[in-house]
């Protein structure tokens, strides 16, 4: 999710006053970095070369925010106006390139950071969309898309079924939905501030951690097992 120091509009300004732009920007970059790590690691598993790693890292780190900015008409998107957003995935690529066995070994830590990115991006994505005049539901949807869009693009480019859609993966969208919905509710009742947006981000973060810890999964369609598998 891009946009820390570059966001316009009242609510983001509120966020900026309470968090300070540099803190928000640093959080942004951390989120992009951990998402980019997941992209670069998938590239290694798919046996791509170093440029494929960089492309997947950029797409994973910046894709969600890029989609959001195109939808709300914020062009050129923040991904293309802030050099830091562009360089961060390259650092992630370099790290994975030289150290990927170690990065895989600390996959648990990467997952924790990824959950933090998820929580942060759904909050800032929802807020930015609302600032650009979208309704509450649409803003929450775009917040969700900001948080999960990069991972979907990553999997599509790597020619995999997006892990977001698979029933055998721990819940990923639901924590982001919860965070985005909490922000939308706060916006609805004019209660968005540093405290409430932090609570929303932390809620999404903790829900994701719990989902990984206890392997929470979503149900598949009713009677799924009793029907034929493939058309």
């Amino acid at each position: 999710m891009q946009g820390g120091g570059f966001l316009l509009g009242e609510n983001v300004k509120v966020l900026q006053q309470l968090f300070s732009p540099s803190v928000l920007h640093a959080l942004d970059l951390i989120g992009i970095f951990v998402f980019a790590i997941s992209g670069a690691l998938l590239a290694v598993r798919k046996n791509f070369d170093v440029f494929g790693m960089a492309v997947l890292a950029e797409v994973t780190g910046l894709g969600g925010g890029l989609f959001r900015d195109l939808v709300i008409g914020a062009v050129p998107p923040a991904a293309f106006t802030d050099l830091g957003y562009f360089v961060t995935p390259l650092l992630a690529t370099a790290l994975v390139f030289f150290l990927h066995p170690h990065v895989e070994r600390i996959q648990a830590a990467v997952n924790v950071f990824d959950a933090a990115g998820l929580g942060l991006f759904c909050v800032v994505g929802t807020t930015k969309a609302y600032d650009y005049g979208l309704g509450l539901t649409a803003s929450a949807c775009l917040g969700l898309a900001t948080a999960v869009g990069g991972g979907v693009l990553r999997d599509v480019l790597a020619n995999e079924v997006p892990s977001l859609l698979r029933w055998d993966r721990d819940l990923y969208a639901v924590p982001a939905m919860a965070g985005a919905a909490m922000v939308a509710l706060c916006l609805r009742y004019d209660a968005l501030n540093a405290m409430t947006s932090s609570i929303a981000a932390v809620t999404a973060f903790v829900l994701r951690l719990l989902a990984m810890r206890y392997h929470w999964r979503a149900p598949r369609a009713w009677h799924r097992r009793s029907t034929v598998m493939e058309e």
Copy 2:
């Protein structure tokens, strides 16, 4: 295809005067609903969970119109400004979730509605693109993209070869092309009204029904069988 009550511009206004916005909006929602059904059904076949079903339903129902709106610069796209457009795919998801064996059994009926959505979307998509200042050919192309774009996105996300591209599927793009071309011709000769646009939509609809009934297929490249299969 989105946009009934939210479309700007003269020609769409003509459509609205003749059809009444509420009728157009209802037709829009029906089209989105049946497209979303096809997305949710594919998600069931691919063994996705309920959130994967909702994502595929939203993408299939709204993707074509979203692409069109981004291209013509109509941001935020109608998909994000009308709550009904967002909720309709969720209803389709719920229906498929609980009743999918029955929905599969009435696949023939779903196909008929899908053909109706195809006819409707190619007409409204072409008209909206023209209203935003595109040329006649470009408008017809965008009308086609509006009608088939959601299905292509659905297949890409599900990691399948888009059925639009496969030679062993009944004609799908050609009926939409015919409808879009008829609308473009009417626009060219200033003859677009409720009658002619209905004829265009019905033509696309009937052509698609005939293609399914008689398994019309498009030719593959010349000498296809005599050449090596894979590089």
Copy 3:
């Protein structure tokens, strides 16, 4: 890459004065044509029908420029405002449809033209992005995306791993990066003219030819072979 006669802004105007719009437009169309050939040939290999061929040809020829225009806010994109851009991929489709065994036989020639398109598109893409106000790094990135984006979309639609990402393919992105970086450097030092932009395009072109001739490849991640293959 689209945009010859339709580009706005100072630098492109400089290019136009030095090259004349009609020369630039012709180069554009040649680039689109050869890219479209590669799309139509992939469609034949994937056993798609003639409409699938046309869709892949259009996407491959126009996709990179379409992405660039959406990002810089140049809507409607040049791909939808110039009939020639739309018709050119159809001509490529017709050629491949009737003559594809011969086209495959002259694959070497197609590769040379494709390399020429790569060189041209990275230069014009970078220049157009800069004209729309992007920074130098972002402009070079968009120039690269313009040059390689169509091929990535082609592979995604055909449900293949993008050849851009695969380590067992000859370098493709690096020549385009070199060309885009040279243009960005020229822009930085106010030295962009017909001579320097030609040198940049030719450099990318020659690098790509050398990469194919000597099978230059990019490294994979450190220790790649010593780790487990798939998750």
